[in-house]
């Protein structure tokens, strides 16, 4: 038996240890041996984890589990490179000898060097030669240790589609000979924006409401926040926008636990038990937003501020809707999205200005870029509810039902319609756009 092995049971491992270990190993080994060996490195990392699984389950956890897995993975990669005699070429490419490369990797695996390798991989996975969907899939695969079937489950796509996205991404990286380098100063802003965008979209994928409780989707949110936190810790990448993005993620994460009932059905903002919101995360979000202060706030700043305003409201009625309207005004100056206008209209209506809100919604109707008529109809329904016009509200919700809907969306609407038809309104509100965007 390995003398390193202690009597610690496998329970001692921290949560998600294998997942994060996988990301770390791939990042460090790909940096050392080259992104073109990504497939090999992923395979050998997987094998090292399988070996750990089989050994540790029997004999307990070694005293340095990270180092143990790293050595297994590193040696197996070296074995293959030597055996396949592609070694010479690999070495020529990195302009060093084997010993040098191994010593670099050994040095990088030391804890204080790992974030740097992970950041490099983040810029590889979010490289502009890849399309957005491939960037997200590859980030989940490489930096979050997700399997293809987990990616498929998390992104609500088929296994085949997940596989295609990841393969397409790897092929593009190989063809373009992308290196695990941090972006040069003149590209920094643009490349960083791409990483922020990918993390933002990744978080939204995990956060968007679905029928049934799928813990993997919460994991996607957690991973996006983890990677964003990593960016925040870097002197060049921890910009005010990055910090605001983290604040945004944390503020939304605070409400994750209150969004699904025991049967897995979605609970809308208005009906959530606010005592279930994670106060620690709210405080952390507030703290990061404070640290993100800048003279030029980004959309992440305003979106975070809106999410936090909800977090701080003791009830739906006591929400500072005036502030939310103000933040949407600013967002619209930065980015004139019809979805922001729709949300601003709802906030306006909630603050009492229903007529102006109705006008705004009417003006959105028939616009080419108002892609989601479903959301528009839901918003109209809500506005009519606020005017105590339950017949028009039912009409609007019924119109929303005519579109192509996910099952949980249909269920929510049908439930609301029957409530309205039944005992008039019961005072509960229905802010569908908040949860279904």
């Amino acid at each position: 038996m390995n003398p390193e092995v202690t009597s610690d049971g496998p329970e001692q491992l921290v949560e998600h240890f294998f997942r994060h270990e996988s990301a770390k190993l791939i990042a460090v080994l790909a940096r050392a041996f080259g992104v073109r060996h990504l497939d090999l490195i992923e395979d050998k990392t997987q094998e090292a984890l399988i070996t750990a699984m089989e050994t540790w389950g029997r004999h307990g956890i070694p005293s340095n589990p990270s180092g143990w897995i790293y050595r297994v993975a590193r040696n197996r990669v070296l074995d293959v490179l030597r055996r396949e005699k592609i070694h010479q070429r690999a070495m020529a490419w990195t302009q060093g000898n084997e010993q040098y490369i191994v010593s670099l990797a050994d040095q990088w695996i030391a804890d204080d060097q790992v974030p740097d390798s992970l950041l490099r991989m983040m810029f590889v996975c979010c490289h502009p030669v890849l399309d957005r969907r491939s960037q997200i899939a590859l980030t989940l695969k490489i930096l979050c240790g997700f399997s293809l079937s987990e990616i498929a489950r998390g992104l609500l796509i088929s296994n085949e589609a997940a596989k295609k996205r990841v393969q397409r991404a790897k092929k593009a990286l190989a063809e373009e000979q992308i290196k695990p380098e941090l972006p040069p100063a003149d590209e920094l802003q643009q490349r960083l924006s791409a990483v922020q965008e990918v993390l933002y979209l990744m978080f939204n994928e995990g956060y968007s409401a679905t029928q049934g409780h799928e813990p993997l989707r919460d994991d996607i949110c957690e991973e996006a926040a983890r990677l964003c936190h990593l960016l925040c810790g870097h002197e060049s990448f921890g910009t005010p926008e990055t910090k605001a993005l983290l604040a945004l993620m944390l503020a939304h994460s605070a409400r994750l636990g209150a969004r699904v009932d025991s049967e897995g059905a979605t609970i809308l903002l208005a009906d959530q038990d606010r005592s279930l919101w994670d106060r620690g995360l709210v405080r952390a979000a507030d703290d990061w937003l404070e640290r993100s202060k800048t003279d030029h706030p980004s959309r992440f700043h305003y979106e975070a501020a809106i999410a936090l305003t909800h977090c701080f409201a003791p009830t739906l009625e006591q929400t500072r809707w005036d502030r939310i309207v103000f933040f949407y005004d600013r967002l619209l100056q930065l980015h004139p999205s019809p979805l922001y206008r729709l949300n601003r209209a709802i906030a306006r209506a909630e603050s009492g200005d229903v007529d102006q809100a109705l006008e705004e919604l009417e003006s959105l109707r028939g616009r080419q870029d108002m892609s989601s008529y479903f959301l528009l109809s839901c918003a109209l329904g809500r506005l009519h509810e606020l005017r105590d016009d339950s017949r028009k509200a039912v009409d609007a919700y019924t119109a929303a039902l005519s579109g192509a809907l996910a099952e949980h969306e249909r269920a929510l609407l049908e439930r609301r319609i029957s409530q309205l038809r039944g005992a008039q309104t019961d005072g509960r509100s229905f802010d569908a756009t908040e949860e279904l965007k």
Partner: protein, 114 residues
């Protein structure tokens, strides 16, 4: 009481579809199974895993690389348990966390006993 050897036959390539998260969970479940067995006394030896490559020594002492069995039949590990009978041993094997393979339950013949 009788002694049994559990031979773990690997699940073949499908084992590689496992995600790190699932592996960690499988390993922790395996650890609990082993711990329970050691405490209760029915686990005689936690055994070990077996490396995939080896040599095969034939009757005429020729040596070949191997075993090269179908990967899904390859014995990847073993452990020793004690149970009242084969049925009891099978129940213990059922409780053992699986990682996509199969467990072969074989009673020791006792030939080596005094």
């Amino acid at each position: 009481m009788a002694k049994f050897m559990f031979l773990h036959r690997s699940g073949g390539p499908c084992a590689f579809e496992q995600s790190p998260e699932e592996m960690q969970q499988a390993m922790q479940a395996m650890g609990r199974w082993m711990e329970d067995g050691l405490k209760a006394g029915w686990l005689l030896d936690t055994g070990d895993g077996l490396k995939a490559d080896g040599k095969v020594v034939h009757a005429d002492n020729t040596v070949t690389d191997g075993p090269f069995a179908e990967s899904k039949e390859l014995v990847g590990g073993y452990c020793m348990v004690e149970a009242a009978d084969l049925e009891g041993a099978v129940e213990l094997a059922k409780a053992m966390p699986q990682t996509g393979g199969a467990i072969e339950v074989r009673e020791l013949a006792g030939h080596s006993m005094d």
